[in-house]
């Protein structure tokens, strides 16, 4: 093999970088499913909880376009109940804390949706007044 003294160290470095996440996490606590704080006095979300867990991001995307672009201000769920489409007025009425609900999972899985760059989290208001 030509350039053996360059290729082999190169391969070793490449392998190390490739497997870095495993090295880095070695000895750290195992992943635990986050437990967001669920509302106490309301039992049912607008759709089935399991469905919401899997699809809330798509649903929020669709809500956003419907209300901003198509003037569809209300959502009738599969059980026929009517809700106003609003993150701040409807979702956060029951889920009263961004920190205890949204952030619980989002932080754990390192996603940072930009909803709260504009939308006012409940915490911001109670702190301010």
């Amino acid at each position: 093999m030509y350039d053996k003294e360059k290729i082999i160290p190169g391969l070793i470095i490449f392998f190390f970088v490739l497997t870095f996440p495993f090295w880095y996490n070695l000895g750290q606590a195992a992943y635990k499913t986050p437990e967001p704080k669920l509302p106490v006095n309301v039992k049912k979300c607008i759709e089935d909880t399991k469905w919401m867990r899997a699809n809330h991001m798509e649903m929020l995307n669709e809500w956003r376009d419907m209300v901003v672009r198509h003037d569809m201000t209300h959502y009738v769920n599969s059980a026929g109940k009517n809700y106003e489409i609003s993150l701040q007025k409807t979702c956060m009425k029951c889920h009263t804390s961004k920190k205890e609900f949204c952030d619980k999972c989002h932080v754990k899985v390192s996603v940072s949706p930009y909803c709260w760059d504009c939308h006012v989290a409940p915490e911001e208001v109670t702190n301010g007044q």
Binding site: N55, E58, E62, D71, T73, Y75, D117, V120, P122, Q129
Partner: protein, 259 residues
């Protein structure tokens, strides 16, 4: 496995086909399993083209202006006291008559008009140049004539600001949130890098209410459907001589002024 891949390919092909038709993607079956449905608010006020008449004679004191501006800016989380005056955000504000209506200026204008202040805001034009130039449909005209902003879609190119002949648009040069006092929890703020302006209180019209400035003006601002001959606003327009800002540009503003 194969089935799933085929489904994904189908969705991709459909998405591509839809984007060529130019129709909004959400009018076709979307990625979301359809379980609920969307309806309009039953309280919503409807119109073909919302419009406004501003009776400048009724704006006399400083308070007359302030309460109208305050009513709008407080509920819409409009930031105040941005340190760089050049980069401030305005939805509705006062401007001298000769500056709001530069084509009405003449060297012998009666003194009471020369330094008279008038309220200015987005004109919600019938032919809005901002909508014409927007490359992403982030600003668009609603069915009821409101020139709407989709803050989620705006890329911040500021072409609309170059196109607007009324200076009605503001750009968030910085994160506005720290400059919003007492945030209204029922309305969002904005993020840096997007354009914003007056939206004719579409969110209040949905609840069957009048725009905030109209409510706060004690009858100095009249709001209604200018394409409905039987509306109150048409009555006011029939009975008074009104002018609009820069009519020669063909934008057809929907905010009228009684001088």
């Amino acid at each position: 496995m194969d089935n799933k891949r085929r489904k994904i390919l189908k969705i991709a092909a459909a998405t591509a086909a839809v984007s060529f038709t130019g129709l909004p993607i959400e009018t076709f079956a979307s990625y979301l399993p359809k379980i609920g449905k969307y309806v309009k608010s039953d309280k919503e006020k409807k119109a073909k083209q919302w419009g406004m008449v501003i009776d400048t004679r009724k704006f006399k004191t400083k308070e007359d202006f302030e309460k109208v501006i305050e009513a709008c800016h407080s509920i819409h989380n409009v930031p105040e006291d941005i340190p760089n005056k050049k980069q401030e955000i305005k939805w509705i504000w006062e401007e001298e008559f000769t500056h709001a209506f530069p084509d009405q200026e003449n060297p012998f204008l009666a003194e009471r008009y020369e330094h008279k202040d008038v309220i200015v805001l987005c004109n919600h034009c019938q032919h809005p140049p901002c909508v014409r130039v927007c490359p992403t449909k982030a600003t668009f005209k609603r069915e009821d004539g409101i020139v709407m902003m989709d803050f989620h879609r705006c890329i911040g190119c500021r072409y609309c600001m170059a196109a607007c002949p009324y200076g009605s648009r503001s750009f968030n040069f910085r994160d506005p949130a720290p400059f919003v006092k007492d945030k209204n929890p029922k309305f969002p703020t904005r993020m840096r890098g997007v354009v914003e302006k007056c939206l004719f209180c579409y969110e209040r019209l949905e609840e069957g209410k009048q725009p905030a400035c109209v409510e706060a003006s004690n009858g100095a601002i009249i709001f209604g459907d200018i394409l409905d001959p039987n509306s109150e606003i048409r009555k006011v327009l029939r009975e008074n001589y009104t002018i609009v800002r820069k009519p020669e540009l063909g934008t057809e503003p929907c905010v009228f002024y009684i001088i």
